[in-house]
Symmetry: C2
Subunit: 227 residues, 2 copies
DNA sequence: ACAAAAGTGTTTTGAGTACACCCATGA
DNA sequence: TCATGGGTGTACTCAAAACACTTTTGT
């Protein structure tokens, strides 16, 4: 009789001020008590995997995410969980952290965003899972317009630029980047807004998802390179 | 107490004479008796997932594959297996079918290659898994040199051309294709060989994996487009 | 007037694409 | 000598890359 448990874990990234953040929770009980780990937990018998991640995320961090991408299933290390054989199906999610209110104490847990270059050490094999998620994020940014999930609904172009600079780790030409993105035709120009602080006011833009889907249907293929 | 079983399934493709084949087995017992299905089965408690697929593949089809890529985990459909809740971690494998001898009766099973456009109907949700595998294959061929796993160790350029034509479903310029591939510098020219049948003798080539890895380390990025 | 950030156009370069003829063999 | 399949070079085209100055605001 097989005795393997199935868990789901969520790698959720947020972006703010040139920094990528990872959503973590503090475990209060169990073998990893007082460790930081990724949100997640065991799947229920009658529960689709994708519902399980969303539920755990909601219960543990108060974060509601309608869409998450399946990332990878971790099940080669027999002892990744000290309590017994557990395989983990990991999902990748992206949010603008400003849109979310972390409930710092649901289910007797602490939830927090950490800058990815200042993470606490994570329990289980969750550092591995995080690495995989980061790798996937860095790959996807080249061929899917995922950046918009990490920005506010209405954003300045320079914010988008900073996001891409942060994720790819490369500097690139501002003019060429803008030209390229605008040429896709799925951004709506919302006109000029004053910004806080110095400098000339800038235009805000909005991602038009319908337009993007329409383009996809016509055979459009999103692609960005950062030489 | 959680009651979910964990299985692995293998989507294994072969290529021969302008045709892609899928490796299937015939189930003799259980709810899918007499149906064709993908090779696979339940994972053992102390067995890494990747070992489980390789084992099932060996036991059921006599195919030995050293490397398989994790494809996707199917666990959203609660009733994908009529016997109860089972999630399946699917893997993708590629082989030159000429190199393998199918054992037509190990474990009281029948194993066979089917052309992908003449598949029998598959049990469980295995058609879905196959579709996902095919989609992944078609995507990967653009950014990883996987074609060589499907060809003999030493191959003629025109065979490679046919393989790419088959997988992408597009015609493309012979000269540009050859120029592009050779420009990568990871093929060794083995000189001229007589071919069976008509026509001018052709050169055989071999994929130099070490050279490819060296290039990767230098930041090389494999990419092929088929306009 | 100066500092800060945003907006914009032109030229250069290189990779992708299109395209057609000659060569070596078997029948 | 003909049919079959293999091998090769050049010109064009278009998108990516390089590149610098002007505009609007706050101080």
């Amino acid at each position: 009789m097989q005795d393997i448990k199935v868990a789901v874990d969520a790698v959720v990234f947020g972006y703010k001020e040139e920094t990528l953040f990872l959503l973590c929770i503090k475990q209060k009980f169990g073998p990893m008590a007082d460790s930081w780990v990724l949100p997640g937990g065991l799947v229920q018998d009658d529960e689709p995997l994708k519902d399980a991640v969303k539920r755990e995320l909601r219960e543990e961090t108060n974060v509601e995410l309608e869409y998450m991408d399946q990332l990878y299933t971790f099940g080669d290390d027999i002892k990744r969980d000290p309590r017994g054989r557990v395989i983990a199906v990991a999902y990748l999610g992206l949010v603008d952290p400003k849109r979310l209110e972390l409930k710092a104490d649901t289910d007797a847990l602490d939830a927090q965003w950490f800058p990815i270059d200042a993470l606490p050490s994570l329990g289980y094999d969750h550092e591995l899972i995080f690495e995989k998620g980061l790798e996937r994020l860095r790959a996807k940014i080249h061929y899917e317009p995922i950046g918009f999930d990490l920005l506010e609904e209405e954003f300045f172009f320079s914010e988008m630029e900073g996001l891409y600079r942060t994720i790819t780790g490369r500097a690139f030409d501002r003019r060429n980047f803008r030209k390229k993105i605008l040429s896709f035709g799925f951004l709506e120009d919302l006109g000029t807004f004053r910004r806080e602080g110095m400098g000339r006011p800038a235009n805000k833009f909005r991602f038009i998802e319908d337009k993007y889907n329409e383009l996809l249907a016509e055979g459009f293929h999103f692609e960005l390179k950062f030489a």
